[in-house]
C-alpha cells in the first residue's frame, strides 16, 4: 500500500501508512462499547450460547485491534500471512484437543481421578464430597 507520504524517494521507509487520529479514536470507542456489551450479555443465561457470544464479541474486538491499531490492514502480504497463519495453527491445536475431549466424554463413566488418601487412580464417585 502506498499513500501521500511515499514521496521521499529512495530514503523513504516505504509502506508507512499514517492513520488519522479520528480513526484511532473511533476504534477506541467501538472497543469500549463492545466491552460494555460483553458485560451486559454475560448477565443473561443463554446456556452454551454464552460462550459463543462472548468469544464472538472478543473476536470482533481482536479484529479491530489487529486491523487498525496493529496496522495489519495496510501491512505487506507476507506480514499478513505470517501473523494470521498463527491463528490457523492455533485452530489445529484447538480442534485436536477438543476432539479428544468430546470423544472421551462418551466414556464418562470411565473417568478416573487421584484418591486423596493413597493417591491411587480411583473412580471419582468413590471419593466423599467429590474432591
Amino acid at each position: 500500500m502506498s499513500d501521500a507520504h511515499d514521496t521521499h524517494g529512495e530514503l523513504d521507509m516505504g509502506h508507512h501508512h499514517v492513520s488519522s487520529s479520528a480513526m484511532f479514536s473511533s476504534v477506541l470507542v467501538a472497543l469500549l462499547f463492545l466491552t460494555f456489551i460483553t458485560v451486559a450479555v454475560a448477565q443473561f443465561d443463554f446456556g452454551s450460547a454464552n460462550m459463543l457470544i462472548a468469544m464472538g464479541i472478543a473476536a470482533v474486538k481482536a479484529s479491530l485491534v489487529i486491523a487498525f491499531f496493529m496496522h495489519v490492514k495496510w501491512d505487506t502480504a507476507i506480514n499478513k500471512i505470517v501473523f494470521l497463519s498463527s491463528f490457523l495453527f492455533l485452530s489445529l491445536l484447538f480442534v485436536f484437543t477438543l476432539a479428544d475431549l468430546f470423544t472421551r466424554r462418551l466414556d464418562n463413566e470411565m473417568h478416573i481421578t487421584r484418591s486423596p488418601v493413597d493417591k491411587g487412580w480411583v473412580h471419582p464417585s468413590t471419593i466423599e464430597g467429590g474432591h
Partner: protein
C-alpha cells in the same frame, strides 16, 4: 554502525531536534531494513499467539471438564476490576497507536506524551492486578507464599490452595480454575511489565531524537508488542471474569 562501507545509507534528520539514522550496513535500502525488522517481529508475535494459545487450549479443556467449577471460580473474581482493567488496556492501546503516529509524523513532544500515558496505563493495570491477587491470597485461593510448596501427603491438600472460607467446596477440583487464572494472568502481567520497560526504552530514544518520519521502526515494533498484550486480555477478560 558502518563507517567503512561505501554504500552505507543515511536517513537525514527532519529537524534540529532529531538525529540522522544510519541504515545497518547489511541492508541495501531503508525499506529493506524496515521490512526485515517488521517480518522478524511478526514472526515473534506469531510465537506469542502460540504460547498463549496453549494456555487457552488448557482453559477450554478444563472448562469443558468442570464447567460448574469454572463458573463458581469466575464468581470469586471482581468483574468490575476486570472491566476497569480492560478499559485501561484499551485506552493505553489507543495512546500507543497515537504515539506511533506522532513518531511517524516527527512530533517529538507528542510522542513522549502518548508513550508516557501508555506507561501510566501499564502501571495502573498492574496496581489493580496487585489488589486482585492480594484478595485471592487472603482468601486462600492463591497463596503466593506457598506456590511451590509440596502438597500434604496425608490429605492431598494443596499448599497454595486452602480455600479456608470454603467458597469452592461445592465443586470438584476448585484449584483448577485458580491455577489457570494465575498462569494466564501471570504470564500476561509479565508481558505488561516487559512492554512498559520497552516503552520507557523507546521514550529515551525519542528524547534523544532518534525516531522521526524517516526512521521509527523501533517505536512501531514496541507498539505492536503492546497491542498484542491488549489482544490477549480481550479474550482473558470474558473467559476469567464472566465465565460463560
Amino acid at each position: 554502525m558502518s563507517h567503512d562501507d561505501h554504500h552505507a545509507v543515511t536517513i537525514p534528520a527532519p529537524g534540529p531536534e532529531f538525529v540522522p539514522h544510519e541504515v545497518a550496513h547489511h541492508f541495501s535500502t531503508p525499506v529493506q531494513e524496515f521490512q526485515a525488522g517488521k517480518l522478524g517481529f511478526w514472526l515473534f508475535l506469531a510465537t506469542e499467539i502460540l504460547l498463549f494459545g496453549g494456555l487457552f487450549a488448557a482453559y477450554f479443556y478444563y472448562h469443558e471438564m468442570y464447567p460448574e467449577t469454572f463458573v463458581l471460580g469466575g464468581k470469586q473474581l471482581d468483574w468490575k476490576l476486570g472491566a476497569l482493567n480492560t478499559s485501561v488496556l484499551l485506552l493505553s492501546s489507543w495512546t500507543m497507536a497515537m504515539g506511533v503516529r506522532s513518531a511517524q509524523t516527527s512530533q517529538k513532544k507528542k510522542t513522549l506524551t502518548y508513550l508516557g500515558l501508555t506507561v501510566l496505563g501499564a502501571v495502573i493495570f498492574m496496581c489493580i492486578k496487585y489488589i486482585e491477587y492480594s484478595a485471592k491470597n487472603e482468601h486462600g485461593l492463591i497463596e503466593f507464599g506457598h506456590l511451590f510448596d509440596p502438597y500434604n501427603e496425608g490429605t492431598g491438600q494443596l499448599a497454595w490452595f486452602t480455600d479456608h472460607d470454603g467458597v469452592m467446596a461445592s465443586v470438584p477440583h476448585g484449584h483448577m480454575f485458580f491455577a489457570i487464572y494465575l498462569t494466564m494472568t501471570g504470564i500476561h502481567g509479565l508481558h505488561v511489565v516487559i512492554g512498559a520497560g520497552l516503552i520507557i526504552w523507546i521514550m529515551v530514544g525519542t528524547a534523544k531524537g532518534r525516531f522521526h518520519a524517516g526512521y521509527y521502526m523501533p517505536v512501531d515494533l514496541v507498539g505492536l508488542y503492546w497491542h498484542l498484550v491488549d489482544l490477549i486480555w480481550i479474550f482473558l477478560f470474558p473467559l476469567l471474569y464472566l465465565v460463560p
